[in-house]
Amino acid sequence: MASLINDLEIQGTQSTPVVTSDWSRGCLQMEGNSYPENSFEFFSGIFSWIERYLDEGAEPLCLELALIYMNTSSVKAMMDIFDLMEEAHGRGREVRVRWYFDPRNERVMEMAEEFREDYTFSFDILPREG
C-alpha cells in the first residue's frame, strides 16, 4: 500500500513552511512560517494526506511541527488537522503531535499551548536548539 502513496515534499518559502511526509514511518513534518496566499489550497494536500493515512492504515501518526508565524487561515487549517487527529484518537488510533520551538522564542511555545487546549491526544511542546 505504501508504494501507492505519494509522500509530500514541499519546498519552503518565506511564506510557506517546508512540508515532508513519510508514510512508512507515519510521520509528517512542517517547519517554518505559514502565511500562504491561498491557505486552503496549500493545506488541502496536507489535510488529505493525513486523512488517507488515518483512513487506510492502523499505524500510529506523528505530526512534527516547528511552525513560527501563522496567519489566521493557517491557524484554522491546523485546527482542522488537530480535530481530525482528535477524532481518530477517539476511535482508539494512536496519534501524537510534537511541536518544537526555539527556546529563545518563548512566544511560539505559548502559541502552541493555546493550540493544545481542548485536545486529549498526546501533544508535546519541546524546546529545540537551532
Binding site: Y69, T72, V75, M79, D118
Partner: protein
C-alpha cells in the same frame, strides 16, 4: 399532568362508550329498531376515527421527539463551533500582537544607535530631508550642525574602548539635556553627532550649539587615580539657504565648517 387528565365521556376515544354501543347493537331486543343501521354505521366510523387519532398522535409524537433531538445536536454543534471560532480568534490575535511588537522592535533597531540609544544616521538622514521640505514649505530657517568629539582616538587608546564607549554615552546624555525639545539629534557615526535645529536662524542656532559645546566641555573622563581627561567637541554649523533642497550640500557645508573648527584649535563652533 397529562396522565391525570380525563377524557370527556362523550369522546369517540372512550373505549367504554364504544363497547356499550357495541353491546346495544348486538342485543336482539333492538333488532327491529329502525335506527340500528345508522347507529352501526356511526359505531364503525367512531372506531376508525379512534384508530386514526391514535396513529396521528404517535406520528406527531415521533416528529416532536426528532425535532427535539435535532435542536439539541444543533445547539451542541453551534456551541462547539463558537468555541472553535473563539480559539481561532484568540490564537490569531496573539500572532498579530507578536507581529506588531516585532515590527516595533525592528523599527527601533532600524532607527536607533544601540550604544547611546540616540537616533542613528539612517533616521537622521530621513529627518533632514523632511525638515528641509518643511522649511521650504513654510519659508522658515533650518540649522544643521555636525559635532565631532575632540581627540577621541586618544581616549580609546589611553583608557580603552570601554571608557570610550562610556564617554560617548555621557556625551549623548549631555546633548539630550542641552538641546531644545523640538531639536532633532543623534549619533552620526563614530564620535560624530548631528543636530538638526528646525525653525532656527544662525544667531539662535549659535546659542544652542554653544550651550551644547560648553556642557560637553564639562565632562570629565576619569581614569582611576590618573589625571583623566576633560572632554571637548568641535562643531560645524550651517543653515538652509534659499532654493536649497539637497541634504548633501548642507551636510558638506557643515562638514567643511567642522574642519575649520578643528584647524582653529578645536572646542569651538564654526559656521559655513
Amino acid at each position: 399532568m397529562a396522565a391525570a387528565h380525563q377524557e370527556p365521556a362523550m369522546s369517540a376515544g372512550d373505549p367504554d362508550l364504544l363497547d356499550r354501543v357495541r353491546r346495544v347493537l348486538e342485543d336482539p331486543v333492538h333488532r327491529e329498531n329502525p335506527l340500528l343501521p345508522l347507529l352501526a354505521e356511526l359505531h364503525h366510523y367512531a372506531g376508525v376515527q379512534d384508530q386514526r387519532m391514535e396513529r396521528l398522535l404517535r406520528i406527531a409524537d415521533g416528529y416532536q421527539f426528532l425535532q427535539h433531538e435535532q435542536s439539541l445536536t444543533l445547539a451542541e454543534r453551534c456551541e462547539k463551533q463558537l468555541r472553535r471560532t473563539e480559539k481561532l480568534a484568540r490564537i490569531s490575535d496573539r500572532y498579530q500582537r507578536e507581529l506588531l511588537e516585532l515590527t516595533e522592535s525592528l523599527r527601533e533597531a532600524a532607527n536607533k544607535d544601540p550604544l547611546t540609544g540616540l537616533a542613528n544616521r539612517r533616521y537622521l538622514m530621513e529627518r533632514i530631508r523632511d525638515e528641509i521640505q518643511r522649511a521650504r514649505r513654510q519659508g522658515s530657517a533650518l540649522g544643521i550642525c555636525i559635532m565631532d568629539v575632540d581627540h577621541f582616538k586618544q581616549i580609546n587608546d589611553r583608557f580603552g574602548h570601554e571608557t570610550g564607549d562610556q564617554a560617548l554615552c555621557r556625551i549623548a546624555a549631555v546633548v539630550q539635556d542641552s538641546v531644545r525639545s523640538y531639536d532633532v539629534y543623534g549619533r552620526w557615526g563614530g564620535e560624530e553627532f548631528l543636530l538638526i535645529l528646525p525653525q532656527t536662524a544662525t544667531e539662535e542656532a549659535l546659542g544652542v550649539i554653544q550651550r551644547v559645546r560648553s556642557c560637553i566641555n564639562g565632562i570629565h573622563v576619569p581614569q582611576g587615580k590618573a589625571a583623566g581627561m576633560l572632554l571637548s567637541a568641535s562643531f560645524g554649523l550651517t543653515t538652509l539657504r534659499a532654493g536649497e533642497e539637497d541634504p548633501d550640500i548642507l551636510l558638506k557645508r557643515a562638514d567643511q565648517a567642522l574642519f575649520r573648527a578643528k584647524d582653529a584649535g578645536r572646542n569651538r563652533v564654526e559656521q559655513g
